[in-house]
């Protein structure tokens, strides 16, 4: 006989709660939640904006078509496939943000090594069982994690990495190695945000510090601002693009753009499928959102003040009347009443030569997209007025260096030449219609009269920079 009024009901309630209480706590570290994909509508089209017409440079196909170019250097003239990522401003080449120290340093990318496959140790999606319908990403490798300002010492007043105004395509690589204490408790791609990465390393969100002798769970080698300014870190050229951007294998839409009518494109059965007609960009994490980037590889940099002075100068605190009052050793000059110093570290520059007859000089309105077209219509010299006899060809893009050349860089200085004034040794054997001089960059440099250095008004041409990278082959 139950005496207490709540006896039997209490027993029932207790028995209902027991199973929940008996559930043990797992030793695993829960993975960061997957928040979806980055909204690319705010991306600059020059950096691979939304993958839909008409905002993409190619107004018809929402695919990023590779361009063909010619490389010089030790390999001679040969066709090269490169990605054109639009124009760059000088301030975007200021890797140290010296011109405005209140702004963020280049965003960091944490590259995590030593992961153990299988997200949360439970979901082992790998290349072999990857299902394009349902699996957004592989889990046998940790995607890089882009910073967004959680760590103030690193990035200062960080701008929004996907905002056109503050976006920089160049990232500082921060190596991160998992230690044994966490490797067995985490899977690859468990970490999807900078904050959780730092906290797994022991960083306190409240005090914004690491504990003494830490990080202890992850080996996190965060460079100092001085390291960055001195160029003692590795920079990568990783323009962030829409994760849905289709990177065509060939410029022929029917062959490699899935959105073209009658497309024969074969989709990748896993990221990096070599038999696919196109690829998606490589993937990274930003705040738990899946993003895409094109891996342009290492960004070679220099701290040579002369080289960096070509790109940009910034005012020091010192006022002056003439250059002699400034630090000559640092290559400072006096301008506008202030000593102007070159930025401490900047990208090495490649050179890209284009024919003035095929690529018009940029205007202030087209600076973000100086080379809008990948192809040009070439008339038949025997019947130049007959449009039916014209042919479409890739624009004549000649690089001074290509990957593997010592002076290669994915940041190019755009140079214009007049093909009517050049004489070159190389020629394309099958190029019988509208022959074009296929010069090497060295040959062009050796013919300064052919180079365009002034505009139609006789004013010196400003320096134009374009983002031109050869996609790094990975996976």
């Amino acid at each position: 006989m139950l005496r207490a009024p709540l006896g039997l009901p209490g027993l029932l309630l207790l028995s209902a709660s027991l199973p929940a209480a008996l559930l043990g706590c797992s030793d695993l570290i829960a993975p960061d939640p997957y928040q979806g994909t980055i909204d690319s509508s705010g991306f600059d089209t020059a950096f691979g904006g939304p993958a839909k017409p008409p905002s993409w440079p190619n107004s018809v196909f929402p695919c990023l078509a590779p361009r063909r170019g010619l490389g010089g250097g030790t390999n001679g003239i040969d066709g090269q496939t490169w990605w054109y990522m639009g124009g760059l401003s000088a301030s975007q080449l200021d890797l140290s943000n010296a011109a405005d120290p209140s702004k963020a340093l280049p965003p960091s990318v944490y590259q995590v090594t030593g992961c153990d496959g299988g997200e949360g140790k439970a979901d082992a999606i790998s290349r072999s069982n990857y299902d394009a319908r349902v699996h957004n990403y592989l889990t046998d490798r940790q995607y890089p994690v882009v910073s967004y300002g959680s760590f103030p010492a690193q990035v200062g007043a960080a701008g929004e990495p996907t905002n056109v105004a503050s976006y920089r395509p160049f990232h500082v690589v921060v190596p991160v190695a998992l230690r044994d204490s966490v490797r067995s408790r985490m899977g690859c791609n468990d970490i999807k945000s900078e904050r959780s990465l730092l906290e797994r390393a022991g960083w306190s969100r409240e005090t914004k510090t690491f504990p003494e002798n830490a990080p202890y769970n992850l080996d996190l080698r965060i460079p100092s601002r001085d390291d960055i300014r001195a160029g003692r870190v590795t920079f990568r050229d990783w323009p962030m693009v829409s994760v849905a951007t289709v990177l065509m294998k060939t410029p022929v839409a029917n062959e490699s753009c899935p959105f073209q009518s009658g497309s024969m494109a074969q989709y990748p059965k896993f990221p990096g499928d070599p038999n696919a007609s196109f690829q998606f960009p490589q993937q990274h994490w930003l705040r738990g959102l899946l993003g895409g980037y094109i891996d342009g590889g290492d960004l070679p940099t220099t701290t040579d003040p002369a080289a960096c002075a070509d790109i940009l100068r910034y005012p020091t605190g010192k006022s002056c009347m003439m250059t002699s009052e400034c630090n000559a050793a640092a290559n400072e000059i006096c301008s506008s009443g202030r000593c102007q110093a070159p930025i401490p570290v900047c990208p090495q520059l490649n050179e890209l030569f284009v024919d003035i007859g095929e690529v018009p000089l940029p205007t202030s309105a087209t600076l973000s997209n100086p080379i809008p077209n990948a192809t040009v219509s070439l008339p038949d010299p025997t019947a130049p007025m007959d449009p039916k006899k014209a042919r479409t060809a890739d624009i004549l893009a000649i690089f001074s260096a290509v990957p593997s050349d010592p002076s290669y860089s994915p940041v190019c200085r755009l140079r214009f030449f007049d093909k009517k004034k050049v004489t070159c040794a190389a020629s394309e054997p099958s190029d019988l219609v509208a022959p074009r001089p296929l010069c090497s960059a060295a040959e062009l440099k050796a013919q300064p009269d052919a180079l365009i250095t002034k505009d139609s008004m006789g004013r010196p041409l400003p320096t134009y920079y374009v983002h031109c990278l050869f996609q790094k082959k990975t996976q």
Binding site: G36, R133, V134
Partner: protein
């Protein structure tokens, strides 16, 4: 008079026998019906119970029960007049299978003062507890006015019971499906979500027969509101005889009586009874009211007449009840001009709605132990210009013509003193035709001309012209149901067991013919010049067309459309024991097994669903005086399918989406769907299920008024989805970049994955009762409802890139709900009542346009949220809700009987007294119209009802 030895049994402190010779007053042989105490409920519980103890004071604090005492009850609702039972050894008595109504109980024992308890209210499915305290003496009859607490000491079921008197005193629109709104835990609307469930889960029983629509789950056939004697709303903790994932609304209908009665009413709501408030488009409520709009108000008339007649065919043996109702509704909207279509000025368009309801019921006391009732219901509904929309031209309007019938047979038979048999059987039919309002020269719906939709300047809305884009839908639904139940009652050392078991069988058949007029649906996605499909020069404007091959006209005749049929069988077994261990402790264990067989249009079995449903309830009378009850419950319900689910296994109407290719100057196929092979059914499916845990406490705080607190947790699992399995999407889910089988087509598979879920936590505080001249039903609910499925076969799992966003606050997650209906009756015939409703805003979900099909199906944040100022920063995602809503409705009812000598009542209802125009829906599509208000609460309006009764 015979003298009998009466054995006294102590109800509390063990047994004692006192032999007293007392005369027996009751003349048992003269009573027409004698029923021993036993347990009996009809399925759907159309009857109630009465029980208690006859006892005398034997000590300063003790009372002893009296065995062998005759207890007699009578009521106008009781066919046969009176009933008498004898008390048991412990002095207890019980009456079962009582029609709801008001009863008088009489006990006459020589040597004791006769007791007459009046106004004992018996409600369907409830026990009316009535203890009788005898006093020694020879005085005249002692009359006791019964207190009727709301507490049911035998059941943990969350129940709200509304009799006809209460609903007449509540300002609520006279529709049977509106009654559920008064119960706690029930959301708004006529097909409400209840405690986190889908709106299709609500079941409507009439005299125990399930009349729910076998496809939509809502009410299938409306019936006359005044033909209902009592509404019983079960919203949780249901016993094993019920298998429902949602609310069960059981309507006990009137049966007539020994006197002829007439109950007629006339409802008026002309246009003049509606306020003239207008709001500017896309403006919030507080600053959007138009001040200088002097246009006459839009026409909005509603008139209704209904009559209910009942009486005896053979007194005490055969009663009849019949009712008839007719509704007329006229509404008007001013349609703006469409110059590109040839209309240059505003035009007034009217929607007409006609509704006819009819009902007839016979109740026959066939033998002393057997009662049979047979009822028939019919309804018809016709609507012209059913859309009444400013975004369709007149020739794109639609019509509806529908109707149904159902027949219910209810048999209630006492086989012996311990055994009771009941059976409910019936069938329902429903036919519905929705079609274009446009007619051919022959007067038939035009199924040849294709529709076109022109996008407007905001790029998201469109104007449909040429013909209705909705096509036609001609459907027929049948349901046959047989539910035999057997009950056994026994009392022993372990207490009283009332065991009930039964079989519930249903057969459902659903057939429908659908099609699209002209077989084509043109969409002009570029605002500007409308397209002319016959003129290829305009095809760049008509840049999207969907083709339906079965609907394409052939030889000048309309296409046949697409016809499918589906069938389902449901078979359920249940067994439960209402075990009263002591008077103050009742345990109700139960179990049920359900199975469903689903068949497609070819008669092929699609699947077999099986579910088991354990139940356990406990009710504890804390202070042993039925004033405070503790309850706890666990139950599992399974949805083993119906004809709608079976129809999902049928191939659906084939269609091909084509888009204009500017370069190639041709329509290219984007994708196709439907047709043979376009719809699959998963090989192995689990039935959707509900696991419910609830605890509660309820206490009678003042006379006949109960305060209750209930906590409910619900998990809805394995809900139906229609997963698309052929398309391959890009990583962002924006575009389809491939197909698994290499063919540009969509393939769907219906199934019940484990991750398709909804959860609910809710805390209800409620107050119910009739203290004095007041009537109160009020509740406050704090609820949390999340999930990833908004309805069966919704868009979840049709784009795997979006799956992660589907889990979140559901659209019927009203965090706070406060509702109440209170009325007061004055002695001079006036009754005033007020009804308030407050609820926090419903969650919304920002949606983005998909370039794949120009539809809105992309999300960038979880359900119930909006993205923030930084599109790629989840930390700024925010809740996205409608504004909170508050409404106040008032009613005054005055009886003119004293003035006229006739039973005439005049009722005036005023809805939305405060005139609040709170938005009830907004445009959640990203774009120019994001946040625009698309719907508001109804303006202040009044209704007058004149009622006459004999």
């Amino acid at each position: 008079m015979a003298r009998r030895k009466l054995t006294l049994f102590s109800s509390r402190w063990g047994r004692s026998s006192i032999h007293v010779s007392l005369p027996l007053v009751a003349t048992l042989g003269s009573l027409p019906i004698v029923l021993a105490a036993q347990e009996a409920w009809a399925i759907g519980e159309v009857t109630g119970r009465m029980g208690g103890v006859v006892q005398i004071q034997t000590g300063s604090k003790s009372k002893d029960g009296l065995a062998g005492v005759p207890v007699t009850i009578k009521s106008k609702a009781l066919l046969g007049g009176k009933r008498t039972v004898m008390t048991q050894e412990d002095g207890s008595y019980r009456f079962d299978s009582l029609p709801p109504g008001v009863y008088t109980l009489t006990v006459r024992v020589e040597g004791f003062v006769p007791i007459e308890q009046r106004n004992i209210i018996v409600l369907a499915g409830q026990l009316a507890a009535a203890d009788v305290d005898l006093e020694v003496g020879q005085e005249t009859t002692k009359i006791v006015e019964k207190r009727n607490p709301v507490l049911n000491p035998e059941s943990a079921v969350t129940t709200t019971v509304l009799d006809n008197t209460k609903v007449q005193r509540t300002p609520v629109f006279r529709q049977v499906q509106a009654m559920a709104q008064l119960a706690p835990g029930v959301g708004p609307g006529n097909s409400p979500s209840v405690r986190g469930g889908l709106s299709r889960y609500t079941r409507y029983l009439v005299d125990g027969l399930d009349t729910s629509d076998i496809v939509t789950g809502g009410i299938s056939s409306p019936m006359n509101f005044d033909a209902v004697e009592q509404f019983s709303l079960f919203s949780g903790a249901m016993d094993a005889e019920y298998n429902s994932l949602g609310l069960v609304q059981n309507m006990v209908t009137r049966s007539g009586g020994n006197k002829f009665t007439l109950d007629a009413s006339f409802t008026l709501q002309p246009t003049a009874f509606n306020s003239n408030i207008r709001y500017g488009a896309q403006l919030p409520q507080q600053n959007g009211t138009l001040l200088y709009d002097d246009r006459p108000p839009a026409v909005r008339d509603f008139y209704s007449v209904n009559a209910n007649i009942g009486g005896p065919i053979v007194k005490d043996r055969l009663w009849f009840f019949t009712s008839f109702q007719f509704n007329y509704n006229r509404a008007m909207a001013t349609i703006p001009p469409f110059p590109w279509y040839g209309t240059t000025e505003d035009t007034d368009r009217y929607r007409y709605t006609y509704t006819y309801l009819g009902r007839a019921k016979l109740t026959w006391q066939a033998t002393a132990a057997t009662r049979i009732s047979l009822s028939f219901n019919i309804d018809r509904n016709q609507i012209q210009n059913s859309l009444l929309s400013t975004t369709v031209t007149e020739d794109a309007e639609r019509m509806i013509d529908r109707g149904g019938e159902w027949l219910v047979l209810l048999v209630d038979s006492a086989l012996s003193s311990k055994w009771l048999f009941q059976m409910q059987a019936g069938f329902t039919t429903k036919r519905s035709l929705e079609d274009t309002q446009k007619k051919t020269e022959d007067g038939l719906p035009d199924r040849i001309t294709a529709s076109r939709t022109l996008r407007t300047a905001d790029q998201f809305n469109g104007v449909t012209y040429g013909n209705s884009s909705g096509g036609w839908n001609d459907e027929t639904k049948y349901r046959i149901q047989v539910d035999p139940t057997i009950m056994y009652s026994t009392t022993g050392k372990s207490g009283t067991h009332n065991i009930k078991g039964g079989v519930q069988f249903a057969y459902m058949r659903y057939s429908h013919n659908v099609g699209i007029a002209g077989g084509l649906r043109w969409t002009d996605n570029i605002p500007g010049t409308p397209c002319n499909p016959a003129d290829p020069a305009t095809h760049a404007s008509c840049n999207q067309v969907t083709e339906y091959p079965q609907s394409l006209p052939q030889g000048g005749k309309a296409g046949e459309g697409w016809t499918t049929t589906a069938e389902a069988y449901n078979l359920g077994f249940f067994l439960q024991d209402r075990w009263t261990i002591k008077r103050f402790l009742t345990v109700v264990p139960g179990m049920r097994f359900d199975t469903g067989l689903l068949y497609d249009f070819e008669g092929k079995r699609l699947g077999t669903l099986f579910g088991y449903g354990p139940r356990l309830s406990l009710v504890y009378d804390v202070f042993h005086n039925r004033s405070t009850l503790l309850s706890a419950h666990y139950g599992r319900h399974n949805d083993v399918g119906n004809a709608y689910i079976a129809d999902q296994g049928n191939p659906f109407q084939a269609s091909t989406l084509k888009r204009w290719d500017t370069a190639g100057k041709t329509f290219n196929i984007q994708n196709s769907s439907g047709g043979a092979g376009g719809q699959l059914f998963a090989e192995s499916v689990k039935p959707p299920s509900l696991d419910e845990v609830g605890v509660g406490i309820r206490r009678e705080v003042i006379a006949e008024t109960v305060l209750g607190i209930d906590y409910t947790y619900r998990l809805y699992d394995n809900l139906w989805v229609n997963e698309e399995i052929n398309q391959i999407w890009d990583p962002a889910g924006n575009r389809v970049i491939g197909y698994r089988d290499g063919m540009r087509r969509r393939i769907f598979e219906a199934g019940t994955p484990d991750d398709a879920q909804r959860t609910y936590h809710g805390l209800d505080f409620w107050l119910q009762g009739n203290p004095g001249n007041f009537g109160i039903i009020a509740s406050y609910t704090l609820a949390f409802s999340e999930g990833n499925v908004s309805d069966y076969f919704s868009a979840y799992r049709q784009n795997p890139r979006m799956n992660a966003f589907y889990y979140g606050a559901l659209s019927d997650n009203y965090r706070h709900t406060l509702k109440g209906a209170i009325d007061y009756s004055f002695s001079f015939g006036l009754n005033v009542s007020a009804r308030i409703q407050y609820r926090t805003g419903a969650p919304q979900w920002r949606v983005f346009q998909s370039p794949e099909d120009n539809g809105f199906s992309l999300y960038r944040s979880p359900r119930g949220t909006n993205i923030g100022a930084r599109a790629n920063d989840p930390t700024v995602w925010s809740e996205f809700k409608l504004p909170d809503q508050f409404t106040l409705d008032l009613q005054g009812s005055f009886s003119l009987e004293k003035l006229t000598g006739q039973r005439i009542d005049l009722m005036v209802m005023i809805y939305n007294v405060l005139g609040g125009g709170t938005p009830t829906s907004i445009d959640s599509r990203t774009g120019n119209t994001f946040g625009a208000i698309t719907g508001r609460l109804d303006n202040l309006n009044a209704q007058v009802i004149l009622r006459y009764r004999i």
